[in-house]
Amino acid sequence: MKIAIYKFGSCSGCTIEMLNLSEDLLKMVYNKEVEVVFSTLLGADEKCENYDISLIEGAIVSEGDVATIKDIRRRSKILIAMGSCAVLGGVPGLRRFTNEDEVKSVYVEDYSEHKYFSEAMPVSRFVKVDYYVRGCPMNRYELLSLLEKILQNVWFKQEERRFPFIREKTLDIEGTALSLDGEKCITCGRCVKVCQEIVSAIDYINRSIETTVSTPFKVKLDESSCISCGQCTLYCPVGALKERSSVSEVQRLLKSGTRLTAYVEPEVLAALGEELNFDKRISGIAVAALKKLGFEKVILWRPQVTVRMQDNLTIIPSSEAEAIYIQRFHPELSKYMIEPPKIDSSSVVWITSCLARKLSRGLILTTRELIRLLSTLDFGILTEKSFDEVKLNELNFKTNKAVGIQEVERILMSVNDGRLREGAIELYICNRGCLYGGGQPYLRPEITMKREGLLAQILSSTEEEKRGSLGIMEALF
């Protein structure tokens, strides 16, 4: 493809940005896919009557420019406007807000000769523009992607979306730990499907454009069968279902210099590692990041419960979700249940993979919220630090673990049947455990696949290899 680069009222920044594509651009040139045949900046001037693609930088600022751009349009198959000047008018347009006489007094000679306009105009005002790349300077990767599409003949049309917001009535559902913003819901159905597997607290209501997700009779989540497990918030693709955020509160506390300790669960570290594409240094980097944010101490912690050794049955809910589940669906077993783990201190921020913990008192941050807090940090410049304390003690007696809703139901049924009469039962309601908790980062199929692969690896590794590790977290990286 023969490419011409033309410059009007601009700073050349966009052409330079294009050159910043370096290897990507050079590859195209070497493969003879593109050839820059005209550019004053690059010193290219082959006599070509017609171009395949003309890249236009700069705003139209004079009569001469108008004639030139029309001529270029005539001779080009495709015309692309690059950068704010060509697309919108850009910085040269500031002349509109200045005193024209002052400008004339400085540029007196050029002014009359070139018949400058009193404002800078976008290219589209005079000729048809096929594509545009916005930005000052333009986003060079957008240009690259555009050129690739043109070369591969992929259909591409840029357009501002044409429809206004068409829904008339929307419904918000509130809850203590999470909420549903009806205006953002696109009724994809993921949350309904996921909740059906667990407690069926939400479902579709209404028809047609009024279709939305709701609890029965539009009651608050806490009044429905919702147990705040948060699986729905994990799968919502548009953020309509989200946790009640404590990010602002923590940000304010940290900014005001409050001395806070972060209690971090292993699953949080594992998920963080996945998000930041790190290798095995994740623990050190995570501590460093938290300390950079302003936390005084960082403690690696598996939630502890106090259990009195008893002869009869003890049901240990791993969080408030399991506790509510039993109270609501198996109330007769409540008497065997102990309290879910909690931290009672106003100087502790509990960073957890479990959304239901938001129902307990204290400052709770889910993994997702932590990532939001950390999003401005540059992880490349952090040096690893170690945890102030590591409290990963296992319970000192054997327990029956039930992981996932099916297992939980099975084990509770066996209690009801009388088959299980003593011992301790740990309940984890999220399918496949806390690593897939409701507060974890948004999933993508690749992540689940990688996790499953690595978990299979762990399960097949020897006891020797498993011992001495920090559990799932290190094994994943």
């Binding site: 704010s84 404002e119 979306r161 206004p164 068409i166 953002k184 799968y235 955020s245 401005t376």
Partner: protein
């Protein structure tokens, strides 16, 4: 085993494999939105549609099992224009509230799709990594993010600088309305906005018309006239 042709490439896959999975084996990525393997495969968003060359019908690749001799195209004009329209329609039922969205800052799947298919109308807030208290508006800065077309990956905000609006404003009244609500709640006035807006978006009559709309909403806000009658 079943033989299928996807974008001209042949593959042999097991019975019951979906078109999406078969394409993946060939290295062809078909975009999806509502699909999640083993969790949700109901094909409600219709983003993953591809064209069945034999019947001429569009089929949802995430939920359609392959059959012998199936021949599909995943990226031709018809498929792309249908996907583009699907995105436009999704944005017509999804209120733009990016500034407070948990998915902002690189996790908005809608934005990724919109960039690929040329749909504009999501503001820079969707790309901004500054959440809640970190938001520059909360710190008294005049950030044009809520009004500006996304696509720069929030590069200025990554360096803690406010958006200057260099990519141009979004002309949709529902976006402008939300932006004005946001600005007003942080004490930012129309004048503050105009100072920045005119730097890149200076050309008349475009500038004048967008200013008119913004001013209208500021006016309504000042008089507390936010009647929810929908957008013009």
């Amino acid at each position: 085993m079943v033989r299928v042709i996807i974008d001209g490439k042949e593959a042999t896959v097991e019975d019951g494999t979906t078109v999406l999975e078969a394409a993946k084996k060939l290295g062809i990525e078909i975009p999806t939105l509502c699909y999640f393997p083993n969790v949700f495969e109901e094909a409600t968003c219709r983003i993953c549609v591809v064209e069945d060359k034999k019947t001429g019908k569009m089929i949802p690749s995430c939920a359609f099992p392959v059959s012998e001799g199936l021949n599909v195209e995943t990226n031709n004009e018809r498929v792309r224009s249908d996907r583009k329209l699907a995105l436009e329609v999704i944005l017509a039922i999804h209120k733009i509230k990016c500034q407070s969205c948990p998915r902002k800052g690189g996790r908005c799947e809608l934005l990724v799709l919109c960039k690929e298919y040329g749909v504009e109308g999501i503001p820079v807030c969707a790309e901004c990594p500054l959440h809640e208290e970190d938001c520059l508006l909360a710190n008294g800065e005049v950030c044009l993010g809520p009004l500006t077309v996304a696509g720069c990956d929030g590069i200025c905000m990554h360096s803690n600088r406010s958006c200057e609006g260099c990519r141009g404003p979004i002309m949709r009244t529902d976006v402008i309305k939300e932006a004005v609500k946001l600005y007003s709640s942080h004490g930012i006035t129309l004048e503050n906005i105009l100072v920045k807006l005119g730097r890149y978006y200076s050309s008349s009559p475009y500038y004048d018309s967008v200013v008119k709309v913004i001013a209208q909403f500021f006016n309504k806000n000042n008089k507390n006239e936010w009647f929810d009658e929908g957008d013009e």
